[in-house]
């Protein structure tokens, strides 16, 4: 699955400017329309977004996606000792249509990767993905021909280290995700990764699309930043 970025959302320079602005605002020497624009841009404007985030963050429905050993530790997260129901996440949904959090617990083999990608696609927006355990974050203990790290085919939000991670570690990862959902207004993963205006295509479709763009870009007047292919 290739993601083709049309133009970079904001490169390093832009980010640096925003950092300086934030520091000035904190020091209080930012005023006039600069302050106005800063507040408008940084502070979440609508309260409806805030309420939706709060509700969404507190009731993520994980999809039961047990692959291997981490699935057993994921099950014990719902157990009595470390009860995830206290935070509203215990409704494990089997079908991706009703789940908005994919906990990828276990090792993803090359035969399983397209199926994980298909299930992630069939989940409804806004959706989040946690790569639990060393095998799905990196290739973990088995750096060999059969394993694919989750980052190669899935935009992952939280990586939980450990092999298998303790249930408390997974709980910490989920709570970290919850705070991310609360604070970050951007919902879909495209906004989170600055991948707006990208489109997902199957590998063979991608080349045709690229030629079209090259042709369109050739006769367009101002060529936006060179779109680069970044493996997703």
């Amino acid at each position: 699955m290739e993601i083709i970025k049309r133009e970079k959302a904001g490169d390093a320079g832009d980010f640096r400017i925003r950092q300086l602005q934030a520091r000035d605002m904190l020091r209080g020497d930012l005023e006039g329309d600069d302050l106005e624009r800063y507040v408008q841009e940084r502070v979440i404007t609508t309260t409806l977004d805030r309420a939706a985030n709060w509700a969404r963050g507190n009731s993520l429905f994980p999809a039961t996606f047990g692959l291997a050993c981490c699935a057993i530790e994921m099950m014990s997260v719902v157990g009595a000792r470390l009860d995830i129901a206290r935070f509203g996440f215990e409704a494990f949904r089997a079908s991706p249509r009703q789940a908005d959090l994919l906990i990828l617990s276990g090792r993803v083999s090359i035969k399983m990767a397209p199926i994980v990608r298909r299930i992630y696609d069939q989940m409804l927006d806004p959706k989040y993905a946690i790569a639990m355990g060393a095998c799905s974050s990196s290739m973990g203990v088995f750096n060999n021909y059969a394993i694919v790290p989750a980052d190669k085919f899935l935009p992952v939000d939280v990586h939980v280290p450990g092999c298998p991670p303790r249930p408390e570690a997974l709980m910490h990862g989920i709570l970290k995700l919850r705070s991310m959902v609360h604070s970050d207004p951007a919902m879909g993963w495209r906004e989170r990764y600055g991948a707006e205006r990208t489109v997902e295509v199957l590998p063979d479709e991608g080349d045709a699309l690229l030629q079209q763009e090259a042709a369109a870009a050739a006769n367009a007047v101002n060529v936006p930043g060179a779109g680069d292919t970044d493996g997703a």
Partner: protein
């Protein structure tokens, strides 16, 4: 466990039934093993079943890489009454890796022979459904052969990154 003379006796009886079937016997750590010719495996297992080894516990492949003939298949037999175990081994070269399948007489060998085919490329003639069982159907190569690279990606240390090496596709090629 069939002690050394026991294995020899078994081999002797097999030689009477099939003159060229038995290639040799081994006795290692109180456990007997008989090397047989690949095409005679069906009859040898039947004779051993008659002698009491009624259960085939495991069929697995081995790659004796430097030595020829290179691919080996081993059959673990178990006699539940005399509490005895015996191994039957055969060796096939890489270019003609065909072994008669024993799935008809021993149904337990079905998936295990498919795994040996998937991992080593040993073709079992007469197997009802010889397809890959563990790897994807359209995978080229047999992963567990000794000359198949282990694969995986070299760890991306910061030193490598500073050298401008791009490992995303698993090979060390300069940043495309």
């Amino acid at each position: 466990m069939p002690d050394a003379p026991g294995t020899e006796l078994l081999a002797q009886e097999l030689r009477e039934a099939h003159p060229d079937a038995v290639l040799g016997t081994e006795f290692f750590r109180e456990k007997g093993a008989i090397r047989v010719a690949p095409e005679a495996i069906g009859e040898v297992l039947e004779i051993l079943r008659a002698k009491g080894f009624k259960h085939l516990m495991s069929v697995h492949g081995v790659d004796y890489y430097p030595e020829e003939p290179r691919l080996g298949v081993q059959y673990e037999l178990l006699d539940r009454d005399a509490l005895d175990r015996l191994t039957v081994k055969l060796r096939v070269p890489v270019d003609a890796p065909s072994v008669p399948s024993v799935t008809a007489q021993w149904p337990t060998a079905d998936h295990q022979e498919r795994e040996v085919f998937d991992m080593f490329g040993v073709v079992f003639d007469g197997h009802p459904d010889l397809r890959r069982i563990l790897m994807p159907e359209d995978y080229e190569g047999h992963p567990q052969r000794r000359d198949f690279p282990l694969g995986g990606e070299p760890v991306l240390f910061t030193h490598d990154e500073s050298q401008g090496k791009d490992y995303t596709m698993g090979t060390d090629r300069p940043n495309a």
